[in-house]
Every structure is written in structure tokens, then in C-alpha cells.
Symmetry: none
Subunit: 292 residues, 2 copies
Amino acid sequence: MTTTDIVNRLRIWAADGSKAERRLAEIILSDIEYASRAPIADLALRAGVSEPTVTRFCRSLGCEGVREFKFKLAQVLAIGGLYLFPEPLVRDERDARVVDAVADGAAAAIQRARDTTDMSTVNAVAEMAVNAGQICVFGSGGVSSLGAVEMQNRLFRLGLSVVAHTDGQMQRMQSAVCDKKSLVFAISASGQATSIIESVRVARQYGARTVAITNPGSDLAKEAEVCLPFVIAPDTQLYKPTAGRYSLLFIIDLIAMTTAEMIGPSVLEGLRRIRISLSGLNMSDPGRPVGD
Amino acid sequence: MTTTDIVNRLRIWAADGSKAERRLAEIILSDIEYASRAPIADLALRAGVSEPTVTRFCRSLGCEGVREFKFKLAQVLAIGGLYLFPEPLVRDERDARVVDAVADGAAAAIQRARDTTDMSTVNAVAEMAVNAGQICVFGSGGVSSLGAVEMQNRLFRLGLSVVAHTDGQMQRMQSAVCDKKSLVFAISASGQATSIIESVRVARQYGARTVAITNPGSDLAKEAEVCLPFVIAPDTQLYKPTAGRYSLLFIIDLIAMTTAEMIGPSVLEGLRRIRISLSGLNMSDPGRPVGD
DNA sequence: AGGCAAAATGTAAAAAAGCAACATAAAATT
DNA sequence: AATTTTATGTTGCTTTTTTACATTTTGCCT
């Protein structure tokens, strides 16, 4: 998969595109809600370009035409929320640099995860999760322990029995009481965390199924039954935020979502209604921004 | 105002509507993906009705026209989950959709945080952090508590004295021992979490400086000295990718990075020590692994 | 049953939106 | 400066949606 999401592509075009493309991208980004509903004539007028330019722009963004472009924008709005940007913030160069650095890093991390994550593996993992009697999530270190807790959080909401351990001793103890019905998620960016490697080995001895979210070449990856690649690019600046967090979050989102879908429509139908009613999607008041 | 989403209304029509409406509703429900993209001529043909009937049908469903109807269908597809798809749909397509949904949502959330976060506020907050004697981070709820821990993680690495509490009682206790040198970060998606609001109030009474990362209109926002906008509807994240997570992470990244830059080179020394201490522990002491 | 109003649906033509083909302008390259 | 390439605009055509009106169906009353 080499595709980027539209928002990202729009941003790229807003920076790198030609004159007309830049103006268009800016107009669209500044008000996605509007852009997703307006006819291209309006859009063209606002951006000061001609209508076919809009069509061409959509195509160069990877869409089949304007319709598909709007379709995707609508979906972005649905998931990301309805946001209006009345007055774009003006920043000085220094501030913009920081914001861009972080945002670009985050976007790149998600992109990377998106490109390297194999959905058939995710599906297999989700199936394990659905059939597991008990799910244990092990993670340690800044990013990975955060991921472990997050995974617990997500799966717990689906009614699954799940526990996360970020402490090495607890991980060992937990793995010692695993059985054939157990599923172990082992999260480690390095894939070298000893307590996690050992916990996986022990859990496996007791018949548990094991999934590693880690560096594919690492010891942990070898130890586990299944591996979902999670690689953190080494950061040049030490104090710079580790964009890898976003990758991990993304992978966890994928697993949680796939698992949710697999659990079954009956449960989800209710949840979907709740969400939609809360999100105000059904409201005929499009100007109102809603959160996500 | 309608209280049900389109899919529900479609189901109602499929059961109660007139002949043509029933057929239409069935066709649409049987393949929402198709219906959301196909021209009404196709739809009309499939359902064996005339084109204006489709338009009228959309109107009676509360939409302004066919376009808006399709717009909403697109959003339902993004939000509502894959079980809305007809069975014969290929696996790959479903997979691609999950990935797209999560990635697009994440990207949109980051994009939005990027555009709405005011760097002058972040700079001010960073300066508070640098000058604080003690930093407390309070958060509760899935996303916010995660954010609190993450904030602790990040600021700790910069050599700052920081503690995170996700427990209401601990938050109160902590706030009771705040003083003029204290800085409190209060993270809450809703901005209504009572323990956090009260903790902020108490801490402020003792002279602490307070920063809320929350819904700008909320009680918490009013209580705190500074507010960084972070909006997320509380209960919508039942099973869907909560794009808001990415926003929060992004905001935290900005704060941490800005703070780091403000502290300057001395930060690097602290980080270097952490890294050394971790690499030493990594292999030799399995009880305290690192996985960063 | 037959007839009549009301609702539902269909037909055909107009309006709107999107697009393709070609023309022109800008830019890069030589 | 000439030439090629690329980007953008103009015009008119196609598809899609909608309006206005005609026709059919349905339910109801005598």
C-alpha cells in the first residue's frame, strides 16, 4: 500500500504544488466541510482557478474524479470530526517550524505504519483475540508501556477479558499462569526487552498464543507466534518527540477496530447508534462543529 | 429534528414504506457502498422505480437532496463499520477500508490539532514548565489518563520534576500540597471530570499555575489559568478509532518539544544519562527492561 | 361495485454539475 | 531567444439531478 490519505496529500500539494494547486489545496484545507459539499464551480471561484483545474486537481490527488474526492472528504469529516477553521492561525517562522516538525513526523509515522502493516496478519490477530479466554498485554518502556495500556483500554471496551502489565515481574507472573486459552500481546519497540521475551517464551510453553508488536528482526519477533512490525526510526535529535508513538497507536487502532468488527454486528449495531447519535452526524445543522 | 441516523431511517422505510420506497430502501441497505456512489439512474433501475422517486425518497429521509443523502451514506460507511457491507464484498476491500478509515481519521485529527493549536499559548506553557519547581499532571478517562502518563513521560526526560495522577483521590491529595512553584496540567476530554476541576481549583488557591488541556467551553477550561483546546466527545470512542488520541498526543508533543528547546542543551545531558542507564539495564536486569 | 379524492409514481424536459478536447499561457530547457 | 514541456483556461458536450406536470394506484365513501 503506497497510498496516503487525502488530508496528507492535500497538505503536500498545499506546500509543493503549482500556483493553482496550492491555492486550491489551501481553500479546501481551510474548510473541508465546505469543500466536501460545494460544486466545483464554487470551489474554482473561491480559489480563483478554472473548473477543470479542480477536476484535474482531484485526479492528481489520486481520486477518480471530483465525486470520489468529495466522497473521501465526507469520510474524513465523519471520522475526524466536523471542523471549521474560521481564521487560520498565523505563526512566526520559529513556531511554524516546531509545529511542522511534529506534524510531519506524526504523519510520516502513520504513513509508515500504514504501509508496513499487513491486514491479513491483523485479521488473524483479531480472530485470536475474539477467541481468547484471557488476553494479556505486556509492554515496557515509554512508548510500549503506553501502547500496552492503550491496548487494554481498547479491548476492554469490547467486552474482552484483558489485562496489561508494564512491570517486568508482573509480566512473568502473569505469563506463568497462562494456558491454551490465553493470548499474549508483547509490545516492544526494540524487541530486546528481556522480561517480555521471557514472558512470551513461558506463556508459549503453557500453550498460549503469542503476538509480538515489535521490530521484525528482533529476538522478541522470533519468540512469538505472530509478529506485527513496529519499527521506530531513530531520531536525529534526542529530545525530539518519538513519532513512533503514532505508529503504535495506529497499529493498536487497527487491531481494536478489526476485533470489534469480528465480534459481531449485534454488539456493534448498538454501539454504532450511540456513536452516531452522539456525534451529531444526523443533525441538520452542518455549521456546528462536533468533536470526535 | 430527527433522532435516528440514516441507516435506521432506511430500515424503517424498508419495513413501513410504500412499495417503491421499500424496494429502494432494500436495494440501498443491501449495498450501501454502491448506493453511496452510484448515480440515481442506476439505483432507480435496480429498484425498478423511476429516478424522481429516488430523489423524493432521499427527501423524505430528511435529506436536502440526493447529494446530501450520498454524503451521509459516505459518512455512515466511514463511521459505521464494515458489517454494513454486503457479504460478497472481497476481503481486500474490507481491509483497505479499515486501514483507510483509521489512517484518514488520524491524519485529519493531527491536521486539525496542527491548525488550531496556538503556539504562543504553547510557548507560554513551556515557559511555565521550565520555571516550575514541581509539575503535576492530572487526567482521567481513557484518552486523558493516557495523555497524563505520556506527559509525565515526556517532561521527566527533560529533567523536570513531574508526577502524573490518574486517580481522583491522588489528584486531590497532590493538589493540596501544591504551592507557588507548582504547575498543574489538567487533561480532560470532556472538561467535566469533577476530581480534576476541583484539583485545579485547590491547586490554584495555593498559588499554583494551572494549564488545562480540554474543551475550551468547559468548566475545567474556566477554572484553569490557561487552556489549550482539545475537543473530543466523551463516549463516542466505544469501538472506533478515536482520532482524538492523536490530537492529544500531538499537543503533548508540542509542549514537550517546546519545553525542551527552551531548556536548551542541558536537556541533552539528562537524556544521555537516561539512555545510558537504560542500555545498562536492558540486558543485565530483566526486571527493569526498556522497550523504547 | 363504482366513483372520487388523495397519495404515489412515472414522464419528459430543464437545470446543474462534471468533464473532455482543444487553445493559450507560463515554465523549463536548450 | 527558440523550443519543448507543462500548467491553466475556454468552450461546448455528457452525465446527473431536479422540476413540473401527467398518470396511475390506493383508500374511502356511497
